[in-house]
Symmetry: C2
Subunit: 149 residues, 2 copies
């Protein structure tokens, strides 16, 4: 399925920092769904393909409705990744920060009480762990199945 | 306007930890809007009055649409608080975690490059600072004005 769009017909371009830190999973109706390169957590990122958007308020209302639906779908995908890599998710964390990378993006992260940052947030938790190739393949397959893509 | 509902007609009860850590601002259509007791950040919390909800997926679709609208309104209120206390907001952070307090609640936080946790997340940043009474009054008034309540 790679390479993913880094620029679409409307001129939207994926921020290079998001491109470097995550892998393309699916093009959803509004957002590009991506998998964070950190095997410690089932961690998806949704990046609405809307040029210049930095805050939720920069989206049209219809896009915000789509985004909410995609956040729910990404939560299902995070749970599916957790099952696929043997780390079942017991809580979802959602966040839109953008303090470091301003392009609007929403994190959807599967958490569990024995994960590396529990009960703190994953954002700012040092020590990203690369996926082993087999686990990455399982995670991507599980996410794509859950997202119907 | 106090005391705020800690239990509504439908049996919803505000989690005691949220009650202790924040102050009631408004009853919005879905959520109780609250001000976090931390003068370091213009920080609102939205708590949907839905018994047992822990995740976004526990809300009805119509409630999720309301919640998205209330998140936007809370962002405007965070900006208004920032102006009122002399700390203008340059970025909004939104998060739904619930790792420590499971009752569904959404954080809407106004950030600025010179704040106490920038560019990291506010969640888990130790050292909450009590509001001085005058600043608290200004913050609550600004939030209520922005939320039309």
């Amino acid at each position: 399925m790679e390479p993913f769009l880094s620029r679409d017909k409307g001129g939207w371009t994926l921020d290079p920092a998001l491109d470097a830190g995550s892998l393309g999973v699916c093009e959803l109706e509004l957002s590009q769904a991506r998998l964070q390169r950190d095997a410690r957590f089932p961690w998806l990122i949704l990046v609405p393909r809307r040029t210049g958007a930095r805050e939720l308020e920069d989206l049209a209302e219809s896009d915000r409705v789509l985004l909410m639906a995609e956040i729910l779908a990404a939560g299902r995908a995070a749970r599916a990744i957790g099952e696929a890599i043997g780390a079942p998710v017991t809580k979802l964390n959602n966040g839109a920060l953008g303090n470091i990378t301003p392009q609007l993006h929403v994190h959807v992260v599967g958490r569990r009480p024995d994960d590396a940052a529990w009960p703190g947030p994953v954002w700012g938790a040092p020590g990203a762990l690369a996926y082993a190739p087999a686990a990455l393949a399982r995670a991507l397959a599980a996410a794509r199945s859950a997202l119907f893509c």
